[in-house]
């Protein structure tokens, strides 16, 4: 039984010290990913075996490039938030946990950045 007032409990923001922010970000990114991943999967399926020129022409459209960048951003944001929870659930050694969290965060940032920059360079390459 807790002797804290409701306000006191809210101020403490719970054991993760960040309240519902993480949970909400995970839901928002999930909602964004519903249309984005459906669009992505079916577009890629429709381009199977495409050669380099076809690929460049496809990503060369600003609308396609924008959707790809949104997909990449939402995927890595969502994946980081999700993997964070998985690590926190299963890794109990504090040092290993922190190392894992830093590694996953770094990997998501680097991979996301490489993805976005690749899309941008294909976009600008096709306008030359």
């Amino acid at each position: 039984m807790s002797f804290k007032s409701h306000l006191g409990r809210v101020r403490g923001l719970g054991s993760a010290k960040e309240g519902s922010g993480h949970w909400w970000s995970q839901r928002l990114s999930a909602i964004a990913l519903v249309p984005l991943t459906i669009w992505f999967a079916f577009s890629v399926a429709a381009h199977t075996g495409a050669d380099y020129e076809a690929m460049r022409a496809w990503v060369g459209s600003p609308v396609v490039a924008a959707l790809l960048i949104l997909t990449i951003t939402a995927v890595f944001y969502h994946a980081y938030l999700g993997l964070q929870v998985v690590i926190e659930d299963y890794v109990h050694h504090e040092g290993v946990k922190v190392a894992g969290l830093i590694l996953v965060k770094g990997a998501c940032i680097v991979l996301g950045l490489v993805g976005v920059l690749s899309v941008l360079s294909l976009l600008f390459a096709s306008s030359q």
Partner: protein, 138 residues
Amino acid sequence: MDVKGSRMAKNVTGQGRPLSPHLQVYRPQLTSMLSILHRMTGVALSVGTLLLVYWLAAAASGPEAFETAQSVVGSFFGIILLFGWSWALFYHLCNGIRHLVWDAGYGFELPELYRSGWIVVGASGALTVLVWFIAIVF
């Protein structure tokens, strides 16, 4: 609270609070299987993004790198990976929507849980078949 007839075990204090299932002795059920599958597909999809970023980076690096990437992706092993990734995506997507419906406060009754669970199994299978049909035909 009445514990009889429910799946809750009596804990040490005798209160009818739910306990985590002891997985080794717990009968597998659709609901628990689908639950752990959501986590497994989430992790698998995250690993699969490596392939996705490699493919985009190869395209950005020029025709030769892209040809190599296309032949890696189009190899027997590549197709198997892609097939697994596409099914994982559609499963996680459909079950993710199921999660969002729960988050909005609906669908917690046992019959509803089973119904939405089977819908997820069916829909993710159908979407996987559809996307591969498109990939092969177009």
